[in-house]
């Protein structure tokens, strides 16, 4: 019989043996590729203008904005970058990044939007101002929540979705293309994301509703 204490002691020794078998960190010199360094530079630059971390934690694990231009998702290429500003989508193994490219209109104030249609029992609870956007919460008596948020594109705007959704598909909200992310049903909510017709704002709604209800919510988004 092996006790937990024995296991802990042996695990600590094994851990020490592994560290002792590796070179010291200071001895491990490697010249990282320009590609890797670019990612890091961009990382540190963006860290100075964070957006996502201002959202509540539970939302941050399943948050995204949408990349949409002329009714289609952009892939990142030089021509697209040069032609106009837009939200672009990049798919990675474990997450999707949506980031803004180009020069957005320089406006200091952001137009306020709201959900004009809500499922029965829901009402507006609170609004939080983000750096370049808003984060609105709607609740019902049972504690269910609808999150509606939007962000203005600028050089620092970049949002992510972690792969805890089971399916992502393109849908229409009126004449605008949007993406619906079906959550796994346990830890996340469904997401619907799209951008404004001018491509300067990214919208998303997060709630535990069906695709049809999410579309109805999105269709009701209007300027205040």
């Amino acid at each position: 019989m092996i006790s937990e204490e024995m296991l802990k002691k042996a695990a600590a020794e094994a851990d020490q043996a592994i560290r002792d078998s590796l070179p010291a960190p200071a001895e491990c010199e490697h010249e990282f590729s320009p590609s890797f360094q670019r990612k890091m530079r961009r990382t540190f630059r963006k860290a100075k203008h964070p957006v996502i971390y201002k959202l509540p934690k539970y939302a941050a694990c399943f948050v995204l904005a949408v990349a949409l231009a002329s009714g289609t998702w952009l892939t990142v290429d030089a021509e697209a970058r040069a032609a106009f500003f837009a939200w672009v989508r990049e798919q990675y193994e474990a997450f999707v990044e949506y980031r803004f490219i180009g020069d957005a209109p320089q406006e200091n104030t952001i137009v306020e939007y709201e959900l004009t249609w809500l499922p029965e029992g829901f009402s507006f609870q609170k609004a939080q101002e983000l750096d370049g956007g808003m984060y609105l919460t709607y609740t019902n008596d049972s504690g269910q929540r609808i999150i509606f948020s939007y962000l203005r594109g600028d050089d620092a705007a970049s949002l992510f979705v972690i792969s805890d959704y089971t399916e992502a598909r393109s849908i229409q909200v009126g004449n605008i293309c949007a993406d619906f992310y079906q959550a796994d049903g346990e830890t996340s909510s469904n997401m619907l994301v799209w951008s404004s017709e001018e491509n300067d704002l990214a919208f998303y709604i997060m709630a535990d509703f069906s695709e049809d209800t999410m579309i109805k919510l999105a269709a009701g988004v209007q300027k205040k």
Partner: protein
């Protein structure tokens, strides 16, 4: 690829992450390269490891200490094996779970330690994270990017394999 920095909430956390990055990136590349034997793939694994480290930055107390040292090695080894799996045309769970990972030399006399070091990397990582670092299976699932059921299964397999090695060594 910015997800990790965007997950850091306070200036202290950013500083912690930056220090970890500066201190261990070379070592992490070394560990990844030993598994992948390709610089680009190893850099990708290092990057993915930093994503996971940032996601779990609150689990790290100090940037330069033995615990953080072994933690980053464990995380990058896991990511490198993941990267290896992605590069295989026909990966199988059995094959991936047999990869040995970082070679360790142990000259002590604790037979149980020897058995842990004989474990395939996937199983050894689970044992070390659970019994040395003290994380729960749920926490480990998050830091390794596994679903909870997958982590539970990995935990069971790791313990089962360790038991078998202990029986062979005459410990049980």
């Amino acid at each position: 690829m910015l997800i990790y920095m965007m997950m850091l909430e306070t200036p202290e956390e950013k500083s912690l992450f930056e220090q970890i990055y500066l201190e261990y990136r070379g070592l992490m590349f070394h560990v990844a390269y030993e598994i992948l034997h390709n610089e680009q793939d190893a850099e990708d694994a290092v990057h993915q490891a930093f994503v996971k480290i940032a996601e779990n930055i609150k689990k790290i107390d100090a940037p330069v200490c033995p615990k953080t040292h072994s933690y980053v090695v464990t995380i990058v080894e896991h990511q490198a094996i993941d990267q290896y799996r992605r590069l295989q045309k026909h990966p199988s769970v059995e094959l991936i779970e047999e990869i040995q990972g970082t070679n360790a030399h142990y000259e002590g006399d604790n037979d149980l330690t020897k058995c842990i070091l004989k474990l395939p990397a996937r199983y050894r990582e689970m044992i070390l994270l659970r019994y040395h670092h003290g994380y729960t299976v749920r926490e480990i699932a998050k830091m390794l990017g596994l679903s909870l059921p997958a982590a539970i299964k990995l935990d069971q397999r790791a313990k089962s394999k360790l038991k078998k090695l202990c029986e062979e060594a005459g410990i049980l």
